[in-house]
């Protein structure tokens, strides 16, 4: 009899555990890259921003396509040329029970650019903006000149409570100060091991379906996939392209894919007569052919983007003809992907005076973008086929970006022809136009990543005009025009847009995001 009781107890115990697991709704996610802190203003870095979205709301939210939608602000609009008025959401409570008001916004905007020891802060988005409290639920942002991108900039700043404004980064990491208004509350944080969040049952928006979420950093790609297959985690981000085909054939696993805001492109030296990595056939000196727009156009035509997408990226990418994929604000509907035309490329090279081509070296990182080194190799082969004998040199990103930006003896970009990527954090076209295409101008802060130093006054004028145009329709048109002109002048050569892949246990799917964030709120049950 006693034995029977024991057996029954065990059976019930198992049942109880089973039932408990089903109703607890815990989600475990394996992350490809780990946040460096839970202080939302410490490090302006993708993984950090993605994690902070769970705990801290923004005044303006970015949806999965980075379109702006009301967050803690219900409306935002310019009331004159220099003032934007934000109306705040009423009745929102922080995780500690205090009310959200304009004071929290004012102190958030003061703290965000000023965090001690921050590797890269949020000052970039708050420069030249003054925030003024009008009443408890109204704030004004004042600028020195008309500024259309107010919404995009403000959407990057996580809002903390006034109590947390004086807190240190350590206090945020310990959880005592990690108090926001977001859909999840801080539970525990062990760097390198796990971040655990619990549902905020008083959330002002749609309550998340998960009562608890655990994020585990698993940086090694194969290990991440194995953890998913072993059932340790419910979902992983950053599925290696080589594993996609295998996972597709696995009925226990479900993939979610979406194009990102990241364009992979080539920058060409357009400012030196003698470019260090361009040589005449045989290795002699030559006047830099990349200064000639026909040569740049020929290079673009010589690249078989479909082959890169199909073979190197295993189908997980989109050929690119401009700076952002369609659907983003400011893209042009007149631009197509440049068609692969090796004969046309040869003809153009001959017309430009290089019937036998020349010698070139392409430089690229080998640990930054998906398959970056392989892409550089493929491009070198394609160029060699039309007569531009191209050598490949790839290096770790820790060495590459410094040299590509300021590596020459006089502090200029060191290379002649480089492979880079750009993710438009603001989710619209002014981001790449301002940083990659506009003439390098240190004082104005333009062209900070213009490593080819392309410079065209007319494009610059269009970009600057767009950045001063508050009217959305007009700005969209100006950005599209600037993009068209930049592509016409072959300021850069876009090759493809990255597509990101998440994998989950069957029954779960992820709403893929263009900003590459992995959010628990985007994981849905089917």
């Amino acid at each position: 009899m006693r034995k029977l009781t024991a057996a029954t107890a065990v059976a019930f115990g198992i049942l109880a555990i089973g039932a408990g697991a089903a109703s607890a709704e815990k989600l475990t996610v394996g992350l490809a890259s780990e946040p460096t802190s839970l202080d939302p203003h410490f490090h302006n870095l993708g993984p950090n921003n993605a994690m902070s979205v769970h705990i801290f709301d923004r005044l303006i939210a970015q949806d999965e396509k980075q379109r702006l939608s009301p967050g803690l602000a219900v409306s935002w609009q310019p009331i004159d040329d220099l003032t934007w008025e934000f109306k705040l959401r009423e009745g929102v409570k922080f995780h500690d029970g205090s009310d959200f008001t304009a004071d929290d916004v004012v102190c958030t905007m003061a703290r965000a650019p000023e965090v001690p020891n921050s590797p890269s802060g949020y000052g970039t988005y708050l420069k030249g903006k003054e925030v003024i409290k009008i009443d408890d639920y109204t704030v004004h942002f004042k600028t020195e000149a008309p500024y259309p991108l107010m919404g995009n900039d403000i959407s990057t700043i996580p809002v903390i409570s006034e109590a947390g404004c004086a807190a240190t980064t350590e206090e945020f990491n310990a959880g005592t100060a990690a108090i926001g208004t977001g859909p999840f509350k801080f539970q525990s944080y062990t760097p390198g091991e796990s971040i655990v969040l619990t549902r905020n049952d008083d959330y002002w928006g749609d309550a998340p379906i998960w009562s608890e979420v655990e994020f585990r950093p698993i940086t090694s790609g194969p290990s991440r996939v194995a953890s998913l297959l072993a059932g340790d985690v419910d979902m992983i981000s950053g599925v290696p392209t080589t594993d996609i085909a295998t996972l597709e054939g696995n009925s226990d696993i479900q993939l979610s894919q979406g194009v990102s805001n990241r364009v992979i492109y080539l920058h060409m030296d357009q400012f030196r007569e003698n470019s260090p990595f361009v040589k005449a056939n045989g290795g002699g000196d030559i006047v830099n052919p990349l200064l000639d727009v026909r040569v740049r156009k020929a290079i673009s035509m010589a690249i078989n983007r479909d082959a890169i997408v199909e073979r190197v990226m295993e189908g997980v990418a989109l050929p690119a003809g401009q700076l952002l994929p369609e659907g983003f604000f400011g893209v042009s509907d007149k631009l197509d992907v440049v068609a692969y035309d090796p004969d046309g490329a040869k003809a153009l090279l001959a017309e430009a005076g290089y019937p036998d081509g020349f010698e070139l070296t392409i430089h690229g990182p080998n640990d930054r973008y998906i398959n970056d080194a392989k892409i550089a190799e493929a491009i070198a082969q394609m160029l060699t086929r039309v007569g531009i004998k191209t050598a490949v040199e790839t290096m770790p990103r820790s060495v590459y970006f410094g040299r590509a930006s300021t590596g020459s003896p006089d502090g200029l970009p060191e290379f002649s022809f480089i492979l880079v990527g750009w993710g438009a954090g603001s989710g619209e076209a002014s981001s790449p136009l301002k940083s990659l295409i506009h003439t390098f101008d240190k004082d104005a802060g333009f062209g900070s990543s213009n490593r080819g130093r392309h410079s065209d006054p007319e494009t610059d004028a269009l970009i600057e005009e767009a950045l001063a145009t508050v009217d959305d329709a007009k700005r969209q048109e100006l950005l599209a025009q600037a993009t068209e002109r930049a592509i016409e002048n072959v300021a850069i050569i876009p090759t493809h847009f990255q597509v990101n892949t998440w994998a989950a246990q069957t029954g779960l799917s992820y709403v893929a995001r263009t900003d590459e964030y992995t959010l628990a709120t985007g994981v849905v049950k089917e």
Binding site: T36, S120, A226, L229, S398, K442
Partner: protein
């Protein structure tokens, strides 16, 4: 004796100083950490501010001088990425590595020595040949591949243990470790086994060689003649004699288990020092790399110093030489 110790300590200090020069300059001339840290949206002014904040605008000898000044006070600099003292970060990750290294050592001893003993006692048996062949694999297969295979077999196919990560912590006698919980042990099993494989092979080979040598010695023959049981001869007399090289080598290997568990920690997402080091190298978090290497240097120098002093106590000839010099 005191003079000897003082002299040895001065030598050790010199070694540490020279290593600090090599490590600091070696790490600081490679790459550019600024572009690893700043957001791509940052403009030129932001980038310059970041360079100034990290002190990278100063000449390198000045950076080194500041590092030395801090190091003398026990401050090895702040991590570029975490903004926290590098030393604190490393010490924080140390327990995880220690428990991994410790478990691997135990596995090496518990598995390696009995197998080696068997192979030494019955060198011609098939099982012994199998053990020796397997030990060759243990030596020659790359750790990262074996690690992935272990995950595929035990975690994905059999689902006996979790694939990655560290389990729950338990507390015992004031120590916090995942060794004290079932969940912790199940997480520890695969990485410890992976890290131990090479050491197991080493223990097998050392033990086997020792046993084969000892079995032909006079004292074994004498013990047999005296009528001692085989069991007693092997477990008491032979084991005692062959343990000396095994213990010495295993002790030394423990240092390398702690210092270089990088690959295993990466594959199994184990939050130890090795993982911290490899991340710091990839992201060019120079202060952490420098601090880590300095700690390891200090570690080895200290071990050597202790060994030297022990020798001088154990062996009077070392002292005599010292006086003569």
């Amino acid at each position: 004796m005191t003079v000897f110790i003082i002299r040895r300590m001065l030598q050790a200090l010199l070694v540490v100083f020279l290593m600090s020069v090599i490590v600091f300059f070696g790490v600081n001339i490679v790459g550019d950490p600024v572009y690893m840290l700043v957001s791509p949206d940052a403009d030129q002014a932001d980038i310059e501010a970041a360079i100034a904040r990290l002190g990278l605008d100063r000449p390198i000898w000045e950076q080194y001088w500041l590092f030395l000044k801090g190091a003398a006070q026990g401050d090895l600099g702040n991590s570029f990425i975490f903004g926290e003292p590098a030393l604190k970060l490393i010490l924080h990750h140390m327990p995880a590595t220690m428990e991994l290294a410790f478990s691997a050592l135990i596995l090496a001893i518990v598995i390696g020595i009995p197998l080696g003993l068997y192979a030494g006692l019955y060198p011609d048996s098939r099982i012994s040949k199998g053990i020796m062949a397997a030990s060759i694999f243990g030596f020659s297969l790359p750790t990262f591949w074996v690690g992935l295979m272990l995950i595929m077999l035990f975690a994905v196919e059999l689902r006996w243990v979790p694939a990655t990560g560290r389990g729950d912590l338990g507390s015992f006698l004031g120590f916090q470790s995942s060794l004290f919980t079932l969940d912790g042990l199940s997480h520890l099993f695969l990485p410890a086994l992976n890290l131990a494989l090479l050491k197991i092979s080493l223990a097998i080979r050392l033990t086997r060689a020792g046993v084969r040598e000892a079995m032909g010695q006079d004292y074994v023959k004498y013990a047999r003649a005296k009528g001692l049981s085989t069991r007693r001869i092997i477990l008491v007399h032979v084991m005692k004699n062959i343990m000396i090289p095994v213990v010495t080598v295993m002790g030394l290997e423990f240092g390398s288990l702690i210092g270089f568990s990088v690959v295993t920690e990466t594959i199994f997402a184990w939050p130890g020092m090795g993982k911290l080091l490899i991340d710091a190298i990839l992201q060019l978090d120079r202060p952490v790399v420098v601090a880590y290497l300095m700690i390891i240097v200090l570690f080895f120098v200290l071990i050597n110093l202790i060994v030297d002093i022990l020798y001088s106590i154990l062996d009077p000839r070392v002292r005599l030489q010292d006086q003569g010099a």
